[in-house]
């Protein structure tokens, strides 16, 4: 028994303690400083490099570079979201690409409506609907011309899908490898569904040719910079939120579920609610990442839901080190940075490289890049 009952007469001493460690701070002092420096550097540096410096300047941030960096940050948010469920709840989802794409599609609907009559067919309806000879908007498109409603959809649609799926999966205690494959089947089924023209989301081609967001031209350097900064802000906030959740009591129960679910159940906890909360939160974060991804990349189509994309997310987390939050962010940057380099220089070998990462990281680097820096600390 670790409980210690302090003798009476010493009011300053703790009266009762289970011997549990204190709740860790959200971030350490040094981490706060580092974060502040980073926020200032990016917040001021990005607009400066992209808008103020002339194009000839060596530090000028080109549109390509900015889009690439913005894309990587979106991936980093997705990796962070996946780390929440995999690293802290022991649920390896191979279907997070679905939530990412759902958020992207919700934002894409708003952007499609924003095209207005500037499309190829000069119609109020999105081009693909004219092409399919549809006369009016399907019911689920109503209201998507409002930005606020689109933002609501970005959050609610992945949340609803994740909650329903999670409720059924966790209630019947599907877990481990079994759950992973079912999540993959889920995103695969959704991909098949979205490939159909009749589903009402542009079929094969998805959404593209966006013109403006909130009235600003989507290819304007200023708009791009704003989107970049919004993505950065989202990444920082997502990191802090994830940190808050994982250091909370709820997060520690979730970690307990990861390590010994049966034991936790014998202690009287019902894992369903905890798992469902973390799972749904993770899906929402992923949806937000997708919503920020679409206006920057300029296209969303069903191939984002391909099982391979979701599996790649898992490898970002594995490379960075799962259960560390900061690791997956690093992993997303590292793997996707390597992907950009490979696909431009030696495209043939990219799959070899990716396959090798998949095989070698779990074998040689089980705790990922983050593991290199936390010598001796147990997971």
């Amino acid at each position: 028994m670790a409980a210690v009952i302090a003798p009476a007469g010493e009011p300053s001493a703790p009266r009762f303690s289970l011997g549990l460690p204190e709740r860790p701070a959200l971030l350490g002092r040094r981490a706060w400083i580092a974060l502040a420096v980073l926020v200032v550097a990016v917040g001021a540096g990005a607009p400066l490099c992209a808008l103020v410096l002339p194009e000839s300047h060596p530090l000028h941030l080109s549109a390509y570079g900015m889009t690439l960096a913005g894309k990587l940050m979106c991936y980093a948010i997705a990796a962070l979201a996946l780390d929440l469920v995999w690293g802290y709840c022991g649920i390896l989802s191979l279907g997070h690409g679905l939530f990412f794409a759902l958020g992207g599609y919700a934002m894409g609907m708003y952007l499609m409506r924003g095209i207005g009559r500037d499309g190829n067919y000069q119609s109020d309806l999105p081009d693909f609907m004219v092409f399919l000879n549809w006369k009016e908007l399907p019911w689920f498109w109503h209201g998507t011309e409002h930005f606020a409603y689109a933002l609501l959809l970005v959050v609610l649609v992945p949340a609803a899908v994740a909650w329903v799926f999670g409720y059924f999966a966790f209630r019947s205690r599907v877990k481990g490898v079994y759950l992973s494959i079912i999540t993959q089947a889920m995103t695969f089924a959704a991909m098949l569904l979205f490939y159909r023209n009749e589903t009402g989301f542009g079929g094969n081609n998805g959404f593209t040719d966006f013109k403006r967001i909130l009235g600003f031209g989507i290819t304007q350097p200023e708009t791009r910079t704003a989107l970049f900064l919004a993505t950065f802000a989202a990444l920082v906030l997502a990191f802090l939120l994830a940190r808050a959740v994982t250091t909370s009591k709820l997060g520690r129960v979730a970690t307990g579920i990861r390590d010994a679910e049966s034991r936790l159940m014998f202690l009287g906890y019902s894992p369903l609610g905890y798992k469902l909360f973390v799972w749904t939160l993770s899906a929402v974060l992923c949806g937000v990442a997708g919503a920020l991804y679409v206006p920057q990349v300029g296209i969303i189509n069903p191939s984002e839901m391909a099982p391979v994309n979701s599996i790649e997310m898992a490898i970002w987390v594995a490379v960075g080190g799962r259960g560390t939050l900061i690791g997956p962010i690093v992993g997303a940057f590292a793997v996707n940075g390597a992907k950009s380099v490979f696909t431009t220089h030696f495209a043939e070998y990219w799959l070899f490289f990716l396959g090798a990462i998949f095989v070698l990281v779990p074998l040689c680097l089980p705790r990922g890049i983050a593991g290199l820096f936390q010598r001796g600390r147990a997971m």
């Binding site: 993959q184 799959l351 396959g355 095989v359």
Partner: protein, 536 residues
């Protein structure tokens, strides 16, 4: 050969119709001209004519031996010299040499061929008669009605008789006599070919003002009954065809799922590279095919016998290497093992793509696997699918025998049930893992060998199977051979039964949703493993 054919043709024609109108020079005069409508009329008279000379001329037209001589008389060339088509008198060398060959267009050629077939309806050889009847059935023509009628009266062979009946009935449907029409409707319906419905349709409608339709109510009723019975036939045929394609898909899934069930049951991890073992097996089949074609073309028909062990061996070796080199070091970390096997599948796909190219390679069926059994016009069972069905059952038998009748199988089952306990009583679990993994991979290789016979062989071949075969394993219950069989066949059936209503994509989604719901009800699958091997 042709001379003999002519001989029986002549003989046959002569003996069954001595009183036919003789062929006249006027009848066939237009053949020498350029007017194809007139030519067709002339050929039409020829084919309806029972005169042996007409048959000779038809044969000559078909062979290109007919020519137009002086003053438009038609000459038939043969080995013994040229003769006049009407009289049979010899024609002089000079005239024969100067004669213009008679040209036929495709339409006329078809008519001539059918005319010859109609004449062959009275050949002494039943095989020939049947072929002739089939040729005419494929392309019915009312002009042969007199010939068909005569042949029908003489025919003794029941099978040929039924064909002749149908042939006669098709033309007799338009006969002015209602009794004849009634008989014809009955015969057409008895032919049991759903596409003949269209012939009966006009007879089911009451006569309208336009003159179309059937005046006699008895004929109308018979026609309606005939259409209904043909509809039923079509429905059964379609249903049987759907069931068969479901069974066929199920047998392919079974080949893919069987190995997965063994390895999943054993190490508790889905091998995401399992589909790539299928692909390796298919490529091994391709390599064997190429080698046989190059070095022993005479044995080409039997290359599958060689490719079966080859595909097993290649996939099993790859599986052994995967287990020894990679998976062994990841035991106890199932989620990472899953990712690792996915990486392996990427490596294998890319390696194959760089070795054999990204395009599909051609694996052809040997002769004895092409074709099929036509049970009904809309129900054809292709040989290659039947053989694969039998093959997958054989593989199941093999797997069952290995798992239940060998020492290795005993160990595999022991380790699947309780690894620690098996190790405690002296089972060398590491060795069992290796061999069982290789065996499972080898079975996937066999599946690939079978797949190569019915589909495209490309680097992505295996990608589509991993989810489906996992679903089959889950549906059936992990670690149960019977469960996998029922799961795979059930999955194949379910997809094919839903497909006609909702289309392939929605059918797939529906099946996935159904399985997820099914797992709610029975997380252990249909066949739960008995014992205390509950989750850890």
């Amino acid at each position: 050969m042709r001379t003999r054919a002519l001989e029986w043709l002549l003989g046959g024609l002569l003996c069954w119709h001595a009183g036919a109108a003789a062929l006249t020079a006027q009848d066939i005069q237009p053949l020498a001209g350029d007017d194809y409508a007139a030519k067709e009329e002339a050929v039409g008279r020829l084919v309806a004519d029972a005169d042996p000379r007409a048959a000779v001329l038809l044969q000559a037209l078909a062979d290109g031996d007919a020519a137009a001589g002086e003053a438009g008389r038609i000459i038939v060339g043969s080995r013994d010299g040229s003769v006049d088509a009407v009289t049979g008198e010899p024609v002089g060398e000079r005239e024969a040499a100067a004669a213009e060959p008679i040209m036929l267009n495709n339409r006329l050629r078809g008519l001539v061929e059918r005319g010859l077939a109609a004449a062959r309806l009275s050949a002494p050889d039943p095989v020939m008669r049947r072929a002739a009847a089939d040729a005419l059935l494929a392309n019915p023509d009312a002009r042969f009605q007199p010939l068909v009628e005569r042949a029908r009266a003489r025919e003794a062979d029941a099978e040929i008789k039924s064909r002749l009946d149908a042939l006669w009935a098709m033309a007799a449907l338009r006969d002015p006599d209602p009794e004849v029409r009634l008989a014809a409707v009955g015969l057409v319906a008895a032919r049991r070919q759903p596409e003949l419905r269209d012939l009966l349709r006009p007879l089911a409608e009451p006569a309208a003002a336009g003159g179309q339709g059937e005046p006699d109510p008895r004929v109308r009723a018979a026609a309606r009954a005939g259409i209904a019975s043909l509809d039923r036939l079509q429905w059964w045929g379609d249903l049987a065809a759907t069931l068969f394609s479901g069974l066929s898909l199920g047998s392919v899934l079974l080949l893919a799922a069987l190995g997965l069930a063994i390895t999943y049951g054993l190490i508790g991890v889905i091998n995401m590279a399992h589909g790539e073992f299928l692909m390796l097996g298919a490529y091994a089949t391709y390599v064997v095919q190429q080698a046989v074609q190059r070095h022993a073309p005479a044995l080409f028909d039997w290359y599958p016998l060689l490719s079966v062990p080859a595909s097993f061996a290649v996939a099993a070796l790859a599986g052994l290497a995967l287990e020894r080199l990679v998976l062994r070091h990841l035991y106890g970390r199932p989620l990472e093992t899953l990712l690792t096997t996915f990486g392996v599948s990427l490596l294998m796909i890319q390696a194959v793509r760089m070795t054999f190219g990204a395009q599909n390679v051609q694996v052809s069926n040997p002769d004895w696997m092409t074709g099929g059994i036509a049970l009904l016009p809309n129900l054809v069972l292709p040989y290659n699918r039947l053989i694969i069905l039998a093959f997958s059952l054989a593989v199941v038998a093999l797997a069952w025998a290995v798992l239940n009748r060998t020492r290795l199988g005993l160990f595999v089952r022991a380790v699947t049930q309780n690894r620690d306990m098996a190790a405690c009583v002296g089972v060398r679990t590491g060795k069992v893992d290796s061999y069982a993994f290789a065996f499972g991979a080898g079975i996937a290789g066999l599946g690939g060998c079978a797949l190569a016979q019915i589909g495209n062989v490309g680097p992505d071949l295996g990608q589509g199977y991993i989810i489906d075969s996992f679903m089959a394993v889950v549906l059936g219950g992990v670690g149960q051979l019977a469960g996998t069989i029922v799961g795979a066949l059930g999955l194949g059936m379910a997809s094919k039964l839903i497909e006609p209503f909702w289309g392939a994509v929605l059918a797939k989604i529906a099946v996935l949703v159904l399985i997820v719901l099914f797992i709610q009800k029975r997380p252990q699958g249909m066949f739960a493993l008995k014992g205390r091997s509950a989750e850890a």
